[in-house]
Every structure is written in C-alpha cells, then in structure tokens.
C-alpha cells in the first residue's frame, strides 16, 4: 500500500547512547536497519540524535494489550492504542482477542493485523481466541488463524479462563502443530463468582467479595501439569500471587515449558489502595498484598517470571465513574510500563538494563515468535529500539496520554524514566518524547 506520506529512506545517527546501559556508543540507522554500531561513526546526510545520558534498548514487546477494536472503539482503537504503545517505548504489541466480534476467526485477526499495519506505530500481532466467542465450549479455528496473514502464534481467552481441563489439554496439544502457545488467564470461575478484590485482611474490612489467591494458583498448578503431560508450551498471563510464583518455580525446575508474565501494576500497587473504593484500582487479577508484590519482584529478578505484560485495558470514564461493584476491571499501562518497571526493578537494584531488555523485549518476542523484534542492537538487525532517559522524573497525567483510557492507577504519581525516542523499523515514531509520525508502507523502514 502506498500513501502520500511515503518518506525517502532517512537515516539517523544516534550519538553517545549507552546500549543496554553499558558503554556509550553510536548507532547508525538506515533502510529500516541498524547499519553500523561503534564509537567513531559519522554519516553524511544522517539526522544526528544526541543521546548523551540516554540508554538504548531494543523496542519493547507487549504480550498483553487490549486494543478494543473492533467493537469498543469508544474505549480504544488500534490507532490510539498503538500511538500509546509507541510513546511507551514499544515496537510490537499483542492485541488480545476479547474484542467484539471476538478474534476467533481468520477474518477478525486479519482485520486487526491490517489496522495495525495501516496505523504504522508498532507491529500489531493479534492474539487468537482459544475457544469460539471466549465461551470455553469449543475450540476456535486455531489453525486458520495461524495460517492467516496475521500469522497468529499466541492464543488466549484472556478475560476468561479456559477452565474446562479437557478443553485446555486439547488446546495445548493442538497448537503444537504450528508452534503456538496458549496464554492462560488463570482464574477458577467458581471460586471467583462475584469477586471484587483480593481476599484477605482488606476485603474483610471493606465488605467486598474476596478473590482468593487459590483461584489463580489452582489453575496454574493444573495447567503446568497438563503442559508437562502433553509436552506443550504454556504461558501464564498476569501472575499476581506469591503462591503462583512457587508453583512456577517448581514447574520450571521440572523442565516444564511454561513462561509467565507480570504486569507493572502488580509490581507496585497493593490492595490497601482499595480502601478508597476508587474503581481505578479495580483490575483482574486484583491488586494483592505487599508480600505478593515482593514475591513477584523476586520472581522477575530470578527468572521465574519471564516477561512484563502490560494488560493495558482502557475503559471509557463512565465505566469507572461509579460504585466499585459496578465498575469495569482494568487499567491503562502502555505509557507507564517502562517507568514503573524502572522504579520497581531497576532502581531497587533487582535488575539491570540488559535484564530489562530481556523481560520487555527479547523474551516476549521469542514467546510470541516474532522474528524481527527483541533483537540485539547490532549491525544488520532491524532498527527497533528505544532511547530512555533514566534520570528523568515525571508526574503521570492521564489526560496527557495518547491512549483514550483515562484509567491510570498511577495518576498523580511521580515516576522515573522517560521515553525520549522510539524507532520502529528505522522510523522515529517518537522523538523528543513526543509522538512523531508512523511508519508508512513503502517508506523509510520497509524491510
């Protein structure tokens, strides 16, 4: 597809960036790739970007994004959600299947994929539903979605748990045919009927129906055993409890092919916040206790949890401007993820920037089987990268975000770290901390 915005093959010389927080160097980007890396680069005609004091990281890859289109364009569109992603330092997102219609056919995943390509801010990789309509009754046409132009590799009923053990077993087995992975939203439905918040000391006082940790842990325990039995890949979405971490640690020690993600908000916030009854803190899985937060941080540091997934879940304001029990579950996350993870993991000394790149880029890309993402910042690699100012401090203002969602639990919070620039296949989607312009088909970055 050609558009009037097609740009000539611009090149960029990034000067003085600390790659993965290491030694300062220069990177030359041209034709959508990193063409050279070294201390003595110069390039006539290239736009020079002063990156003194900035850290260069591979573009972030989100395994868990709700873009809401088709069907809930009042909450988010592929265009607004991917703008938010670019601003947050992402070059790829996985769009969850709980749209309307559900992304359970080749037609819908191809539509979402095409909307993402037209928008041009990041790679949009649709996630296919595991079951028809997320109803948990019958497998969706997983093979057709895998074979479609969207080349789906991650399948999830996220929002709903694939709770039927036999159906889960079949799904795990079936996707082996095309190297797929089932991403499970671990929530035992009977144990969470009407559940409103983490079950514990705070729910007891607030009189809100409890959401027990065991509802998550029992499904994870079952599914790692199923994955072992059938020799399949399993991914656990948004792990939220200390007990889940213990089960995953055990499963990994046994060599089970399980990967796990944690959201930025579960690394920082606790259920104490629910005392305000402000639905901005209502999320699935719920905010847990401080001991859980600590266990999640340690698990992310020691590799028991593999990746960050934002679970970016924008909602229109009326979905949160109400009583707690009436409110929708979910928080925005794309534009705060980097800062929250820096705050919770890097500034606490638990992880360095190379680890940050692993948990936000290379490992999620590998789980999603994205070959052009999560690559090292080396000559010849695709130019998907982000420049971060780790010394910046900013106060979160949901009104100033690119997402349509105003439901950020971090509003008013001062966070470290700012995305200065994002390059998506050589195209600066973000420059000087502001949205620049998307990649146009046939333009600078086509490779």
């Amino acid at each position: 597809m050609s558009t009037p915005h097609d740009t000539p093959a611009a090149s960029y010389l990034i000067r003085g960036a600390a790659v993965l927080g290491g030694a300062r160097t220069n990177l030359l980007l041209a034709g959508g790739r990193i063409t050279d890396v070294g201390p003595q680069l110069s390039a006539a005609g290239a736009t020079v970007i002063d990156a003194e004091g900035l850290v260069a990281l591979p573009g972030m890859v989100d395994l868990h994004t709700h873009l809401r289109e088709p069907g809930r364009e009042d909450a988010e569109t592929v265009e607004t959600g991917t703008r938010a992603a670019a601003r947050g330092g992402f070059t790829a997102v996985h769009a969850m299947a709980n749209s309307s219609p559900v992304a359970d056919t080749a037609g819908v995943v191809e539509q979402v994929h095409a909307l993402g390509a037209d928008a041009g801010w990041v790679d949009v990789r649709p996630v296919g539903a595991v079951t028809v309509g997320l109803a948990g009754k019958q497998l969706a046409e997983l093979g057709a979605m895998a074979d479609s132009r969207a080349r789906v590799r991650v399948f999830s009923d996220d929002g709903m748990c694939v709770s039927d053990p036999l159906l889960m077993r079949r799904a795990l087995e079936y996707v082996k045919a095309f190297d797929g992975v089932i991403a499970q939203h671990a929530q035992e439905p009977r144990l969470t009927e009407g559940a409103q918040m983490n079950e514990g000391k705070v729910s007891a006082v607030l009189g809100l129906a409890g959401w027990p940790a065991v509802a998550e842990e029992s499904i994870i325990a079952r599914d790692v055993l199923l994955a072992q039995h059938v020799g399949s890949r399993l991914h656990i979405c948004h792990v939220s409890t200390a007990g889940s971490v213990e089960i995953l640690r055990w499963a990994k020690a046994r060599g089970i092919q399980v990967t796990a993600e944690v959201t930025p908000h579960h690394l920082l916030l606790t259920d104490e916040l629910v005392r305000s009854y402000d639905p901005v803190y209502k999320v699935n899985p719920p905010l847990r206790a401080a001991e859980d937060v600590q266990a999640l941080r340690e698990a992310l540091a020691d590799g028991t949890i593999d990746v960050i997934g934002t679970d970016h879940a924008p909602h229109p304001s009326e979905a949160k401007d109400c009583e707690w029990a009436q409110a929708a579950m979910g928080m925005t996350g794309l534009e705060t993820a980097l800062s929250v993870v820096q705050h919770a993991m890097v500034e606490t000394g638990l992880l360095g920037w190379a680890d940050f790149a692993r948990i936000t880029s290379s490992t999620p890309a590998r789980i999603g089987r994205l070959t052009d993402q999560g690559r090292p910042l080396e000559a010849g690699e695709p130019a998907n990268l982000v420049l971060v100012d780790p010394s910046a401090r900013w106060t979160v203002d949901p009104q100033a975000m690119a997402t349509k969602g105003r439901n950020s639990p971090f509003r008013g919070t001062e966070l470290p770290g700012a995305v200065v620039a994002t390059f998506f296949r050589g195209q600066p989607t973000v420059l000087d901390g502001k949205l620049n312009s998307p990649l146009r088909a046939g333009g600078a970055g086509s490779i």
Partner: protein, 338 residues
C-alpha cells in the same frame, strides 16, 4: 469530620459525643413537643438504592424532629439491573441543594464514592452499604448497651463507655455490615467482643480484627457474656453451601429456647439480647428469646431515632472533631511497606 461513613476509624471522642448528644435527643423525645428547631431550613435527602422501610422511617423521623425538610429518593437500579448512575443521582441532589444525604446502597463503598468523588458537597451519612458498614445501627446498639451497662453500674449513661462489657455477636458475620460496624465501635468503647459463626460465614482476614472468634455459641455463653447480638441470617445462604440446612444452622448457632434457659442456669440475670431486625424467628432467634424481658429489640428501634438525630445534628452543625476518613489512611502505593 464531615461525613459518617464507617465506625472503623471513628474516634472514642466522637463516638462518645454522638452517644451523649443522642441522650439529649432522647430527652426531647420524651417531651410533649418532640420537635427542635435545630435544622430548620436545612434539607436532608434519604437516598435509598435498596429497600429498607425501617431505616428510612427512622432517619425521616430523626430529620423531622430536628425541623429539617426531608426528601425521600428511592433510586432505581440494583446489582443486576443498572439504573440511574450514582453520579447522575448525586448531581441531581446537589442541584437541589441537599445539606445531608442519607444513603443506603447494595454496593459496599457507595457512600465513600458519594462523599469523596467531588460530585456533591452535602454531608453523607451511610445508612448501610452492601456488606461493609452500617454505622448508625452500631451507634444505636452501643447507645442501648451503654444505657444498660450504666444502669447496672449505677452511673449516668452520658459520658460513659462500655469498658469491661463482654459482648457476643453471632450469625452471618461474612455478609453483615452490622457486625463490622459493631466490632469497630464496641471495641473503641472498651467492650470485649466475640464473634460467633460457622467458619463459612466468617471472612478470610477476620483474624486481624480486634475481637475474638468462636465457632461454638454454647461455650461462649458458658464463659459468661453481658450481651448477645444475634445477626440476621438469610435462608438463601443455604443454596450457596454456607451451611447444610436452616435446621442445622438454628441448632448450632441460633438463639433458641434452650440457650435462653441456659442464661438463667448460668446465673446471667442481666444479660441482654439484641437483634438489628428484621428477625427470622425460628432461624437465628426463637420467639421466646425475641419476646423475653432480656430482648432489647424495641428499645433499639426507639434509640435509633435519637442516635440518628444526634448524627444529623452534629454533622450539619460541624460539631464533631476532624478525623481522616478510613479510605484516606492507607491510600498509598505499597512502597512504604516494601
């Protein structure tokens, strides 16, 4: 203190002030002219998202005895059918210049939302929210208990507290806003509280509450108790497997005739029986117990008007000490804890 949302976090000072003011209001209620001009020209709205004729008429009588204008607003909508939003309703009341909103809601926390969202400037009184709190019920219970406890001690009720009083609260604690409000308030007033319930009807996390917990009503009686508060239990809880049958519930946790007789055998002549109403006679309380001289059920109803007069008067005249709302105290990220 601008709102009365919960007894959790209510200071002893403010609790005693409300109870003392309620004593003065009760004295007015015994006069021939029961009306005070205190809130003349002020508007009190009873905003009920959940039916409760008993609570509404109690607040209505309280406001009218203080000469306030009363508007009853029965809002549509429930946990299953979404009606007019709380926000729209609040803004309507704001446009009507409500000075106080008495809110009853099926959703825990709805009064907090109303008080803290900026939708409205009125004082908010929680008249029962979901399974969270029902602070005026606890205040009227405490008022009733304090009168009884002072009478036994031969001291005036005003200025007193419940120090040394042993109180058992028995029944469906899990779903009871009355239990929650009473645990906090009675403990603040110096009583020692024991919750008695089947394990399925106690919340996970109850171990952190300032009270004891027992599964055995008889052993709690045998240990000696000065007051027993029976909570309403809904037979429908049986369907959700909280207990096997109403019969079994009643045998183990109901205040039946045998337990009424047991109080006499134990020589607990001054022990009173409270119930917030409406009662399920034959389930959590027998008719003989409900109608016995130990029962304070009717006094509780009477005292409810005095306590609600006191709450309305003190909030609208700004005569309570400042204290943070419970929701504000811990509203930080986890960082302090980590």
């Amino acid at each position: 203190m601008r709102h009365l949302l919960a007894t959790e976090g209510l200071s002893l000072e403010n609790a005693v002030r409300i109870l003392d003011t309620a004593e003065e209001m009760a004295a007015v209620g015994e006069r021939e002219i029961k009306k005070l001009p205190a809130l003349r020209g002020r508007t009190v709205v009873n905003l009920f998202f959940e039916d409760s004729t008993r609570t509404r008429i109690s607040f209505e009588a309280a406001a009218k005895r203080l000469s306030a204008d009363v508007i009853n607003f029965a809002a549509k909508g429930s946990s299953v059918s979404k009606g007019e939003s709380l926000k729209d309703t609040a803004q309507t009341l704001e446009a009507m210049s409500a000075d106080a909103v008495v809110i009853r809601h099926w959703a825990s926390g709805a009064p907090h939302r109303l008080a803290e969202s900026g939708w409205i400037n009125a004082a908010v009184i929680n008249a029962g929210d979901g399974t969270h709190e029902h602070p005026t019920q606890a205040l009227l219970d405490a008022f009733t208990l304090r009168r009884h406890w002072s009478r036994l001690a031969g001291t005036p009720s005003a200025g007193g507290n419940l120090a040394g009083m042993r109180i058992a609260v028995a029944g469906d604690v899990l779903h009871s806003r009355v239990a929650r409000s009473n645990v906090w308030l009675l403990q603040t007033l110096g009583a020692s509280v024991t919750l008695v319930a089947p394990p399925t009807l106690l919340p996970v996390g109850v171990e952190a509450w300032p009270c004891e917990v027992s599964y055995d009503l008889d052993s709690v009686l045998d240990r000696g108790v000065d007051a027993i508060m029976m909570l309403r239990v809904q037979a429908e809880r049986m369907q959700a497997s909280f207990f096997p049958s109403p019969r079994e519930y009643s045998r183990r946790w109901g205040f039946d005739d045998a337990r009424l007789a047991r109080l006499d055998e134990l020589g607990l002549a001054d022990t009173v029986i409270l119930h917030p109403g409406p009662m399920n006679r034959g389930l959590e309380i027998s008719s003989a117990a409900a109608d016995s001289p130990r029962s304070t059920v009717l006094a509780q109803v009477r005292n409810g008007v005095s306590v609600r007069m006191a709450a309305l008067y003190l909030l609208l005249s700004g005569n309570l000490h400042p204290e943070p709302a419970p929701g504000h105290r811990a509203a930080t990220t986890s960082e302090t804890a980590l």
